[in-house]
């Protein structure tokens, strides 16, 4: 990350901002969509009544539709960029989960999106009666995939929002709301989906269940019967193309990253941690100090997990001949916010090259001495990069 940050700090800052803004737009969409699903706990009718307000507005109101699709594209491309810039793939579990989930989203999402589009082409009005029937009765495997999709997308988004919230000041109050929200909404949505399914399934099996009043799809597809397979095949083709393109781009980013890492000069850095849980290890240069510590199982505090936002990974550089460039703007801002001493640096931002380095943690790995009020003492410090 800091390769860019060193040369063009505003660009790195822009990238982070764009990532968060686009991510938040999609998170808002998913939240509303899940809220809509959760209404299934009451009845499919209520679900249908609220469909336009909660979901349809994103697909039929042009500015929102535009914002959503642009967000998706921008977010995906920026994610590829950060994948390219990652120095190590030995990342914390949350980051790994977010990464894997991110890669999986488009392949899982494509059939749903193109399927709904194909339904429009067939002249069917997309409503919950149609979709639920499709997912529970006609093609339960697709329904299963939707659940996987929902979970994957939600995990990806929630981790992103989390990381953003955690690294902000005074987020404790927001967190108190966000923690239950992030669990309750998908659970309610899934239960709503299950309950709606239980209302829809018996109809197919000849029992009593939910039937939509004035179903616009009662007459079946509006197009000629011989065109239907073609339209469906086209939708499937599109979904497959989208899947292949997205996975291909991810592979491309990984390959480019591999080439980039190959070009980093080799050498050895010898790092010594002093204080409680002291440790010494040798590492390849190119990684940040935090990544090196993680790679050698040295516990390290890091709330934002190495994004240079929270400042909890600060270390005191005691001695060592390893060359450390001056703090970038991002790092300087965070250090200033914490009233850090002149010898303090962010472990996630410094990349020691050849030589030795002796550091001590400012905040213990178990956060036992983490005190957010330290930041309050700063007078006009900007409120973080994010």
């Amino acid at each position: 990350m800091s390769d860019i940050a060193v040369s063009k700090p505003w660009l790195a800052s822009m990238r982070l901002r764009a990532m968060i803004v686009t991510g938040m737009i999609m998170f808002l969409f998913i939240s509303m969509h899940l809220a809509n699903l959760a209404l299934g706990l009451i009845s499919v009718q209520v679900m249908e009544d609220w469909r336009w307000t909660l979901t349809g507005v994103w697909t039929s109101f042009p500015p929102l539709k535009m914002a959503l699709s642009v967000s998706l594209a921008v977010h995906f491309l920026l994610a590829l960029l950060s994948l390219f810039l990652r120095n190590t793939l030995r990342v914390p579990a949350y980051d790994m989960a977010q990464m894997v989930a991110g890669v999986m989203i488009i392949p899982l999402l494509a059939p749903h999106v193109f399927g709904v589009m194909a339904a429009e082409e067939l002249g069917l009005r997309t409503n919950y009666a149609l979709v639920l029937n499709h997912f529970w009765v006609v093609s339960p495997a697709a329904g299963l995939m939707q659940i996987v999709m929902l979970v994957v997308a939600w995990i990806h988004g929630a981790i992103g929002v989390f990381t953003w919230l955690q690294s902000r000041d005074g987020s404790a109050r927001v967190m108190r709301v966000f923690y239950p929200f992030v669990v309750a909404l998908p659970i309610l949505a899934m239960l709503g989906y299950v309950e709606a399914g239980r209302q829809v399934i018996p109809v197919d099996e000849g029992g009593a269940g939910f039937v939509l009043q004035d179903d616009p799809n009662a007459d079946g597809p509006a197009v000629a019967a011989e065109d239907i397979p073609g339209i469906i095949a086209k939708a499937e083709d599109r979904a497959e193309i989208a899947t292949r393109v997205s996975l291909g781009l991810v592979l491309l980013a990984l390959a480019a990253r591999w080439v980039r890492l190959r070009r980093i000069p080799s050498g050895r850095v010898r790092v010594t941690y002093i204080g409680a849980r002291a440790a010494t290890f040798e590492a390849d240069p190119g990684m940040s100090l935090l990544e090196m510590a993680r790679a050698h199982d040295v516990p390290h505090a890091s709330v934002c997990r190495g994004r240079g936002r929270c400042g909890t990974c600060r270390v005191r550089v005691l001695s060592g001949d390893a060359h450390l460039p001056d703090p970038t703007d991002i790092e300087a801002q965070v250090l200033q916010r914490w009233n850090a001493g002149p010898d303090e640096r962010l472990a996630c931002q410094i990349k020691p090259t050849d030589g030795t380095l002796e550091v001590a943690r400012v905040i213990e790995a178990d956060y036992s001495n983490l005190d957010y009020s330290e930041t309050k003492r700063a007078t006009n410090a900007p409120a973080g990069v994010a």
Binding site: A141, I147, P186, D297
Partner: protein
């Protein structure tokens, strides 16, 4: 790679599997031995009455087989029992052979059943439900874990010195994680259960949810002991690499076992649903299915054992003992094989016995090593702290020496000896753990054999009797052993810790216990032995009431005969408990005096200071005077003439007191030094000046000697004369008497005053 392909095949078979009721649950293979006692006429009448009872008739009708026969009663003789057992094995072998024949068709048959039971949509929906409810459980658990994230992190990462802290931390963490599992269970199983479902779908999904929970519980237990990612909480004596490896092995084993059970139970659900179609071919397929599952578990176990013993030496840096490792590996592999073979032959009781006993042997050894390690760690931690303290003292000394702050000749501080505080606890914990381990093994064994420990007495079969006797005896022995180990350790430690008093010093209160403890130990041993023997006899069916009564009568007879002996012993115990005297004390009993030289059960020996030895039975003691307790006051008197300067006397006595106090030999024993008490009384010809001092017992004689001598010297040096008895004879108009006459008169008067002089009463001697 061939075995891998076979493995994949087996796995595929398992996944597509569809029917069979598992034979995992053991059936009672033994304990069917009969009774042959003839009924009494009363019993016969009662039996006839019962037969007439309509409820009993209904019950018999209910419990009859579908074809109208009742289950044939247990075989009558050992021979018949053997035959029955052999027949069962033969039956089992035949069905196994049949199962072997249908094995190739098994996948197709199972998939057929699977297809007919559930539609495709239902199957996929079941998977969806499983996924959704698992996710709900995980989500709630995550929320819970998130709220406890920092406490958990602190527990995991805070440095821990003592193993007790480690254990506490591990327990806390396990509690937190288990509470999370509970929430997971509520979130997944509870949420699922609150909907109404298609019965088969419901049971399938529930089975899988429960399996996931079971798997997680097993891995959490492994986590509790091994803590692969939190070295501070690890309770087992090996490093992170070994812990991570073994944790993975445990996960694999747990997965294999839980999966096998889940599949076989799932299949039994389908069969239950199927009910009607429980014909022979399906039963055979079920058996084949179960055999394949069991084989899968056995293979996984073998592979795990093999890999574990291969990797472990390099992970734990074990050297030299490769032969022992090899033996244990082979033992475990053979054990698994034997258990599987027994299961195949259908001897479930024997199988459980072999499994439990086979695992108990290495389990006991491991547990012993583990507890030892735990205590070693504690002792090492304490020892390190102790050594650091001693080193700090030494360093301080060296520093002081360097600065020249010390007086010459001050010795270097010695390193105090390190005493292991767990020396007494360790064997008790060892025995206690062994006790619990063996008891649970015995309970499992009895459960596996279908013998309920609680209502054993109703079981009249030979096997039941033997088991009952065995279990009762083992429990009695283990309990007695536990109590005995505890008592012995405590008593031995107290005796070992006792330091006999240095010559000339009064012994401490421990001396009393030292006389009592060996006696107590013997009494306890005898009592425990008698109790164990009696309970074993009682368990074996011997009526112990006559023995007890006989013992009581003999006890009374002996008691009468040895009345005085008993009185001596009991009185002695009470004197010792009262702490009336201790070894080395100077006591007075009636008209006997002397130092207590030895204390035995019945009597004590007192040595008079002139060498006579008295032996006094405790029963004879009415009251006892102890001269060696705490302090002694001694009062002395001096007679001085009336014209003595009392202020001077006071001053002189004070000076002498100070001198006595400063004496290097007995100065320390003086509790309150010599001081004047002024004039105690006036006598005809002089004043009596009293002085007194207080010393530790036994020191007063020496001090008295010096006090007399020093006071006399001081008086003389200061012109104070001791009053002497003199007679002043006044003779009216005696001026004219000659000296000779005066003397004669004085002599006559003295005789008249003093009376005839005779030998005085003996003054008590010093000891």
């Amino acid at each position: 790679m061939d075995w891998l392909r076979r493995f994949a095949l087996i796995l595929a078979v398992l996944v597509s599997a569809g029917t069979a009721s598992a034979q995992f649950v053991p059936t009672t293979g033994n304990s069917n031995a009969p009774t042959t006692a003839a009924p009494s006429p009363n019993d016969v009448r009662e039996f006839l009455r019962l037969l007439g009872d309509p409820t009993i008739q209904a019950w018999i009708a209910d419990s009859a087989n579908p074809d109208g026969t009742l289950d044939s009663g247990p075989a009558l003789t050992l021979r018949e029992q053997m035959d029955a057992q052999l027949a069962r094995i033969g039956e089992r072998a035949r069905s196994l052979a049949l199962a072997w024949q249908v094995l190739p068709q098994m996948p197709s048959v199972l998939s057929d059943v699977w297809v007919t039971e559930l539609t495709h949509a239902q199957k996929v929906r079941s998977v969806t439900y499983i996924l959704i409810f698992l996710l709900i459980g995980f989500g709630l658990e995550w929320l819970y874990r998130q709220t406890l994230r920092y406490p958990l992190l602190r527990i995991e990462q805070a440095p821990k010195d003592a193993p007790s802290q480690k254990l506490l931390g591990a327990l806390l963490r396990a509690a937190i994680i288990f509470a999370g599992l509970g929430i997971f269970a509520i979130g997944s199983i509870g949420a699922f259960d609150s909907f109404d479902w298609h019965p088969l779908v419901e049971s399938l999904v529930l089975d899988l949810l429960v399996s996931v929970l079971l798997f997680r519980v097993l891995t959490t237990i492994s986590l509790f002991f091994q803590a692969p990612r939190a070295p501070e909480l690890r309770l087992v004596p090996y490093g992170t690499a070994a812990a991570q490896f073994l944790h993975r092995i445990v996960q694999v084993m747990a997965f294999a076992i839980v999966a096998a059970f889940a599949l076989s139970y799932m299949l039994s659900r389908v069969v239950e649903e199927h009910e009607v179609d429980l014909d022979s071919s399906l039963a055979t397929v079920a058996l084949a299915q179960t055999v394949v599952l069991a084989l899968f578990v056995v293979l996984v176990s073998w592979v795990c054992i093999w890999i574990t013993f291969r990797r472990l030496p390099s992970l734990c840096n074990i050297e030299g003992s490769s032969k022992a490792l090899l033996i244990w590996r082979n033992f475990l592999i053979i054990l698994v094989g034997v258990v599987f073979a027994l299961w195949l032959t259908g001897l479930f009781g024997v199988m459980w016995a072999v499994l439990i006993v086979g695992l108990a042997v290495p389990g006991l050894r491991l547990m012993r090593a583990w507890i030892d390690h735990f205590f070693d760690q504690s002792t090492t931690a304490l020892h390190d702290a102790h050594m650091a303290e001693a080193q700090a003292a030494l360093d301080a000394f060296d520093r002081a020496e360097g600065f020249g702050e010390l007086e010459d000749g001050e010795p270097q501080p010695e390193t105090p000896e390190f005493a292991d505080p767990y020396a007494a606890t360790r064997p008790i914990v060892q025995r206690g753990a062994r006790f619990l381990f063996l008891i649970s093994a015995v309970l499992m064994l009895s459960w596996a054999w279908g013998v309920s420990v609680l209502d054993l007495s109703s079981d009249q079969s030979i096997m039941g009797r033997v088991l009952e006797v065995l279990i009762d005896s083992i429990v009695a022995l283990l309990l007695a052993d536990l109590v005995w180990t505890w008592a012995k350790t405590v008593i031995d430690k107290r005796i070992a810790d006792y330091e006999p008093p240095v010559d000339g010093q009064a012994p401490g209160p421990e001396a009393r216990m030292i006389t009592l403890l060996p006696l107590l130990r013997t009494i306890l041993l005898v009592t425990l032995l008698i109790m164990v023997v009696l309970s074993v006899l009682a368990a074996a069916g011997v009526n112990i009431a006559p023995i007890l009564a006989g013992a009581g009568i003999v006890g009374i007879a002996i008691g009468f005969g040895t009345q005085s002996l008993v009185r001596d012993i009991v009185a002695g115990i009470f004197f010792l408990i009262d702490d009336a005297f201790r070894l080395g004390e100077y006591i007075e009993v009636g008209d006997l005096m002397g130092t207590v030289e030895s204390i035995s059960i019945r009597s004590m020996r007192i040595r008079h200071h002139r060498g006579k030895v008295h032996t006094v039975p405790y029963g004879e003691l009415k009251s006892l005077t102890n001269h060696s307790r705490d302090w002694v006051i001694m009062k002395l008197e001096f007679r001085v003439p009336f014209d003595t300067d009392l202020q001077l006397v006071k001053k002189l006595v004070k000076k002498v007191g100070a001198e006595l106090q400063a004496n290097e030999h007995y100065g320390q024993s003086i509790l309150s030094t010599l001081k004047s008490q002024g004039v105690r009384r006036m006598e005809e010809f002089n004043m009596v000046v009293g002085v007194k001092f207080m010393t530790k017992p036994g020191e007063q004689w020496l001090v008295r000697r010096d006090a007399y001598q020093k006071v006399r010297d001081a008086f003389e040096a200061n012109g104070i004369r001791m009053a002497e008895r003199n007679v002043k004879v006044e003779i009216d108009g005696g001026d004219y008497l000659t000296d000779a006459q005066r003397n004669a008169v004085a002599g006559a008067a003295q005789e008249a005053v003093q009376g005839p002089t005779g030998p005085k009463a003996a003054i008590p001697d010093e000891p």
